[in-house]
């Protein structure tokens, strides 16, 4: 039980990869910031040996499971049964002492367990009761995901856990969000974002990729497709294990930049591409916070691009100070780790023209995600030439960067003639599940080959 001795408060470290040298007149500074948290992880430990974790052991957490119970879940009937089994598997993966609730979602949200606007505290008994309650789930009604999220928010915020606890949702849907307007969903997401994190899954192929990825993105969770309902239980267990491994909630990436500078973009680039630029919250002079959600034992990479004011040759400037903070309610912040992004002006052309390999790699990965999206959009719009060009570029980028998973998904949508050149032909017939898988997972990146 080596993990037993691990402190439950994760240690954060920040590494900055950049070429700090700028030519005369150069202003754009790019850096890849790798954030690693270690020491929190109870992943596996709590699940494989829950008996070692007394109630309340590990981080306090509250979890809401949102299961689609709309009428379409009965076509085929195995879908509802698999959803029930998957939810039961997720409940089994709950650590003792975690507060949880199950919500049945249709055009309205219903508390399935425990009910009464409360959350249950996980132990052997409540897990059993919850699974009993799942049997009563039946399909019927529409789909209004915003109402599910708002109910989850109400339950999670009322949970009897410390304010700093991890609050997490798991959302399963099989259809389009037809029974509320996109504005309603957007309003619900705006209201819930930052209050809890949420993973979203689409089961089957009748759901809208942009809806599900949009929910996960707004709620700082993961999105994926489970094309075959039989795979749900394994996926739910994995998701819950990851959620149970989270030790610290509401961590923000704080970026300070000097006077007169302009932030071109801030995005997460690993494990997935996530644009954060517009999610900045100002926190002080020249500093702003970008939400990153909750952290367990994991590592993520961020790409920061800052345009700094010009300075003379030989000058050195701090172009950015990147820190990981837990913002307090009173405006204070606990700094977990920080890294410095520098700018140094030099007339050494060799130094100033070289591109940092990490920056180059992730610039390519971000482009990969973008061209896949553009290619699939063009394909849907009937623009075969545009789709071929974009997806060809995607194949080229995936091959060059060693992103094997994405390359495999691409090969189900296009016939690859020459991967290095990016020459492809659109497949005449593409399984809907394959296309949706590619679109859902287009933002997945790989790290630089060491």
């Amino acid at each position: 039980m080596a993990k037993f001795s691990k402190s439950s408060v994760p240690q954060f470290s920040v590494d900055v990869y950049q070429n700090e040298f700028l030519p005369e007149g150069g202003r754009e500074v790019n850096a890849i910031v790798t954030v690693t948290s270690t020491g929190g992880g109870t992943v596996g430990g709590a699940v494989a040996a829950p008996q070692f974790y007394a109630a309340g052991r590990g981080a306090d957490a509250a979890v809401a499971l949102m299961v689609d119970c709309s009428g379409s879940m009965d076509y085929p009937p195995t879908k509802m049964r698999n959803a029930r089994d998957a939810t039961a598997a997720a409940i089994d993966a709950l650590r003792d002492g975690v507060h949880f609730a199950v919500i049945g979602g249709t055009h309205v949200a219903k508390e399935v367990f425990p009910g009464g606007g409360r959350l249950a505290v996980a132990d052997a008994q409540t897990r059993d009761q919850a699974k009993q309650a799942l049997r009563k789930l039946s399909a019927g009604g529409g789909t209004a995901i915003g109402t599910w999220l708002r109910l989850a928010d109400r339950l999670l915020s009322a949970a009897d856990v410390p304010a700093s606890s991890v609050r997490h949702g798991i959302l399963l849907t099989d259809g389009r969000n037809e029974h509320e307007s996109p504005e309603d969903l957007k309003a619900a997401l705006d209201a819930c974002a930052g209050r809890f994190t949420c993973d979203a899954r689409g089961v089957g192929t009748d759901w809208e990729v942009k809806e599900v990825t949009g929910i996960a993105s707004a709620m700082l969770g993961t999105a994926d497709i489970v094309a075959d309902p039989a795979g749900l239980a394994a996926d739910f267990t994995r998701m819950m294990e990851t959620a149970m491994g989270k030790e610290v909630a509401d961590v923000a990436l704080r970026l300070w930049t000097p006077l007169g500078s302009e932030i071109k973009f801030v995005k997460q680039v690993a494990p997935t591409v996530e644009e954060l630029t517009d999610r900045r919250v100002e926190v002080g002079p020249r500093a702003g916070d970008y939400p990153t959600g909750s952290w367990g034992d994991e590592s993520r990479d961020y790409h920061v691009c800052v345009q700094v004011p010009n300075a003379e040759l030989g000058q050195e400037m701090l172009a950015g100070r990147v820190s990981l903070v837990i913002p307090g309610a009173d405006g204070s912040a606990q700094t977990l780790a920080q890294g410095l992004v520098r700018a140094v002006w030099t007339d050494d052309m060799t130094a100033s023209t070289s591109i940092n390999p990490q920056v180059a790699h992730y610039t390519g990965q971000a482009e990969l995600a973008q061209v896949i999206q553009q290619g699939l959009d063009a394909r849907k719009a009937g623009d075969a030439d545009g789709a071929t060009a974009k997806l060809g570029r995607a194949v080229q980028l995936a091959a060059a960067s060693g992103n094997a998973d994405t390359a495999k998904l691409l090969s189900k949508v296009v016939d690859v003639v020459d991967a290095a050149e990016g020459t492809v032909r659109l497949k005449a017939k593409v399984a809907e599940a394959d296309e949706m898988t590619l679109e859902t997972r287009s933002t997945k990146t790989v790290r630089v080959k060491k």
Partner: protein, 431 residues
């Protein structure tokens, strides 16, 4: 009723059953009251929906634990693009004499302790300094301005030292972001009690990692070695040779330190630097060197010929020595300054060069890095640039020489040590 109360399927007027789920519409009472779920959470969600009015309160401390600076709108218009104050003639908002009353962080000058309220005099965290570039922001612990981000001058950017008869000056120059040169000067008593002076000048190799640490380690190690061996009676030329070997070892050790992994560039070269040293002991003048840093001899009587005392370990020098090129051609080549000898773990073979001279007249020894001799390459040029009273005012002479390099463009770090020959008797040095 426009939608089915059971499944929300749109209805047409006159429908008696829902077309989708078969719900009996005739039995429908008022819509179920769980529909307004959507609005129930607005109370809780309200703050998140109105971020534009819910300003976060300003933190007392920022991420680096120093007080967060506070801006007032009136602070802004009166600064130029560098963040410094405009002269009052071009200001439209009046000279900010009330600046002392603003939130205080950017207040200049410091509030008068006799009149200021006690809170304005709160002790800033230790080490808090104002930025030299914008003169508005505090300097954080990492040495950068919290306002404009400019790196603050570091101790090594400009160093001067005078020790009796010997003096040295080192400057970052105008084009490099840090000073990778280092020097050490010292005086040691020989066994018979006569004074001797020592100077070591090192130039870090920029293409290697941590050149600044290499030059510092080498200059210190060499000077310490000399201070130990000279009083013991070791012949100065042998002492110089041993000192260069000691300096090389000190630089080699740097490559093994765990700090070597600090920079994310494992492919970079091990720390390296050049070294040139001079010893004036009785009637002897000893020089020793590795690399392309140089020593010059300039007689007090400027009509006598000056001379360069060292032979560069450089591509150009080797070309000239081998008779393949004349000096002008060799130094015009872009490879001219590629050095062929240095101190560091990557050096092929350490070849310390030493030379011993017995000057027949008084003069000064100029020990310098290429940051200076690039602007006064020939010995005659050096003799022209150095002030006539160099032997009596070595520090002033070193300053003048550094100034000459900066006036010429200051493309590299500049370091100069000036040693008078012979060593002036005690108490007769510059005052």
């Amino acid at each position: 009723m426009s939608t089915c109360p059971s499944c929300e399927e749109p209805l047409e007027s006159g429908d008696r059953f829902c077309g989708a789920c078969g719900y009996d519409l005739s039995a429908v009472p008022a819509p179920p009251d769980d529909l307004p779920t959507v609005t129930l959470s607005t109370d809780v969600a309200a703050p998140a929906q109105t971020p534009d009015v819910d300003w976060p309160s300003a933190p007392e401390l920022d991420s680096s634990d120093t007080p967060a600076p506070v801006h007032l709108p009136t602070d802004l218009p009166g600064t130029d693009s560098g963040g410094s104050e405009l002269p009052s003639a071009v200001r439209f908002d009046g000279v900010p004499e009330q600046a002392g009353e603003s939130a205080g962080d950017y207040t200049l000058p410091a509030p008068d302790p006799r009149t200021a309220p006690p809170e304005a005099l709160a002790t800033p965290p230790a080490g808090t300094k104002l930025c030299v570039a914008c003169r508005a922001g505090h300097v954080d612990r990492d040495g950068y301005c919290e306002n404009c981000g400019h790196a603050q001058p570091r101790e090594r950017d400009h160093m001067e030292q005078e020790l009796g008869a010997v003096a040295a000056v080192s400057d970052r120059g105008l084009r490099h972001h840090r000073n990778e040169d280092a020097f050490a000067i010292a005086s040691a008593a020989l066994p018979d009690g006569t004074p001797s002076v020592v100077s070591i000048v090192c130039d870090g190799v920029s293409s290697a990692t941590r050149p600044d640490e290499a030059s510092l380690a080498a200059s210190r190690a060499a000077s310490e070695a000399l201070l130990e061996s000279l009083p013991r009676g070791t012949h100065p030329q042998q002492a110089m040779h041993d000192a260069i070997v000691a300096a090389a070892e000190a630089v080699n050790v740097l490559a093994q330190e765990p700090g070597a992994a600090r920079e994310h560039a494992p492919h970079q070269n091990a720390p390296a630097c050049t070294l040139v040293g001079a010893i004036v002991a009785k009637d002897l003048l000893i020089v020793g060197w590795v690399g392309d840093s140089r020593a010059y001899w300039v007689p007090d009587d400027r009509t006598a010929p000056a001379a360069r005392l060292t032979e560069d370990d450089s591509w150009a020098a080797q070309m000239v020595a081998a008779g393949l090129m004349n000096e002008a051609e060799a130094y015009a080549d872009e490879r001219a300054h590629a050095i062929t000898g240095w101190l560091g773990a990557d050096a092929y073979e350490l070849e310390p060069h030493t030379a011993s001279f017995k000057p027949d007249r008084p003069g000064v020894v100029v020990v310098c890095t290429d940051g200076l001799w690039n602007y006064a390459e020939a010995a005659e040029e050096m003799a022209r640039v150095i002030p006539a009273d160099a032997a009596h005012r070595p520090l002033h002479s070193a300053q003048v020489l550094v100034g000459h390099a900066l006036d010429g463009g200051g493309h590299d770090n500049v370091t100069v040590a000036v040693l008078p020959f012979p060593v002036p008797p005690q108490g007769a040095g510059s005052a």
